[in-house]
Amino acid sequence: MRGGLGRAVTHLRLVVLLLALFLAAPARAQDQPLVAALSTQEVRISTGFVGEAIMVFGSTDQPIGPGGDEILVVARGPTRPLVVRRKVKALLFWINGPSARFDDVPGFYAIAGTRPAWQLLPEALRQENGLGLDALPLTSTGSRSPAFRAALLDLKKSSGLWLEGVAPVEIRGGRLFHIAVPLPATVPTGDYKVEVLLVRSRRIAAREEMSFRVERVGTADRIADVAENHAFFYGLACIMLAALAGWLGSVLFRRD
């Protein structure tokens, strides 16, 4: 129920924003070929968080579509180092064997376009700008096998944290575009960057950079914060709470 309502409110907000943009577009179009915005600057992870979609939308000064302008939207989450391990069979058991360490792995990455990026841009330009999962600058130490990189891509894709071309950027009225970027419940906290690129005759004609934050709020945030910064007191609190809950439960539900 609440999820549905939230989505409805987001949609309503989107319609209002699109309308405002549409009305403002002719006036602003003269000086800017590309205008874009996000539905929100802040994604809040509360105790009931099940994921959220963030809307990226905007307009261009010339018609979008085949033969005309094209749009690419890229969202990148905060990076952190990861280790990919391969399971190997030792005697009877499957254990973690060789590993490769990847520095600066984006915790979230999504790319969408009016058409796939490889159709829109020359290969060199696409690689240079990191547009597409195969163009992510992932350098590894440890095992050199390309299988580790492929496995990282597979696992991230199946967890919904790395998305490529899941849905195309939609166009309304020739000049308005929008796309919903789905953030799964496991989305990492931190600062996210969203880039909107205007592609005109296989070149990047304009780009708009925006950002949003994913942060824990309320109880979830307070718990994580205390656990991280005051680990000793958090541990004590866990002991007290568990003991209290156990005792209280046995008093309330006694059946003899």
Partner: protein, 302 residues
């Protein structure tokens, strides 16, 4: 109803957690054990990361054991001196266990280690329990009473101490070692260890059965508290939301289980518990032996 677990960093169905808590609580009430050995594997099965499952499992076992300890204490069934010695050993053991846990996590073998510990410990204990109780059922008619206090090598050890409540005058080394060993298991497996401590107290230390349950609960409560604290500080994997949801189901389930447990006979109960323990061990063993679905795993670089 989905709930976000702030430490695990994932969203899980709250009713599923309460349900698991209830089932484990029911079984633990039925058999009179803490149930940590069922809880941790169940949590790993539904996708909770192993470190969080172990640490929160220890935390849950603490909560589930507190009321039992209080009831036993009121009835005077706790030997605080023996409990203290066991706990002292348990503190050192859990400290060592958490160091080992952190080390295994750094080298990326923690999931394997947790599974192997479970298979070895549960396989041994479950096998012994089934054998023992089957033998007991078979010879029920011509029962030979076992002498409670027999003298063997253990009684030649130095550092003797008098345990008035247990009516024992024995060396502190065996209970210290037993406490240490259970402490290590508690830290790595997220269990209280009552299912191993009880036989040790009866057969090795020769304690009277009346004080065994209460004294083992004493050790379990303090050692799981220590594990909770150490895991929170060193590994940072205790998820209090997870713990409390499990406890909510657990305390209710335990009451139902305990009521039903009074209707079962001792040997049958133990044979059933042994079979359950063996089943958990075998399913974890299968998980280690079978071809994995995914040949690669990702972990944070530590």
């Amino acid at each position: 109803m989905q709930v976000y677990l702030p430490i695990a960093g994932i969203s899980v169905d709250a009713m599923l957690l309460v349900g698991i808590g209830f089932l484990v609580g029911w079984l633990s009430g039925l058999f009179g054990v803490g149930g940590g050995f069922l809880l941790t594997p169940a949590l790993i099965l539904i996708g909770i990361p192993a470190p969080v499952a172990v640490a929160s499992g220890a935390n849950q076992t603490l909560g589930a054991s507190v009321s039992g300890l209080m009831a036993q204490w009121r009835r005077g069934n706790v030997d605080p001196k023996m409990g203290g010695v066991l706990t002292a050993g348990g503190f050192v053991g859990s400290l060592a266990g958490v160091q080992l846990f952190a080390l295994l996590q750094r080298v990326g073998q923690i999931d394997l280690a947790v599974s192997v510990f479970y298979v070895v410990v549960l396989g041994t204990v479950g096998g012994l329990m089934v054998m023992e109780s089957v033998r007991a059922i078979l010879r029920r008619r011509g029962a030979v009473r076992r002498r409670l206090h027999e003298h063997f090598w253990m009684h030649g050890l130095p550092l003797k101490m008098r345990f008035r409540k247990s009516r024992l005058y024995i060396s502190v080394i065996p209970p210290l070692l037993a406490g240490f060993f259970i402490g290590v298991l508690s830290a790595i497996m997220g269990v209280g260890g009552g299912f191993m401590l009880v036989p040790v107290m009866i057969y090795l230390l020769g304690m009277p059965t009346a004080v065994v349950i209460g004294t083992s609960l004493f050790q379990v409560v303090f050692v799981t508290a220590n594990v909770t604290l150490l895991q929170a500080v060193q590994v940072g994997s205790v998820d209090v939301v997870l713990t409390l949801l499990l406890l909510l189901g657990g305390v209710i389930g335990a009451q139902f289980g305990a009521k039903m447990g009074t209707k079962l006979r001792g040997e049958e109960t133990r044979a059933l518990l042994g079979a359950l323990v063996l089943a958990v061990a075998l399913s974890l063993l299968w998980g280690l032996v079978r071809r994995p679905d995914a040949f690669f795993v990702i972990g944070p670089a530590l």
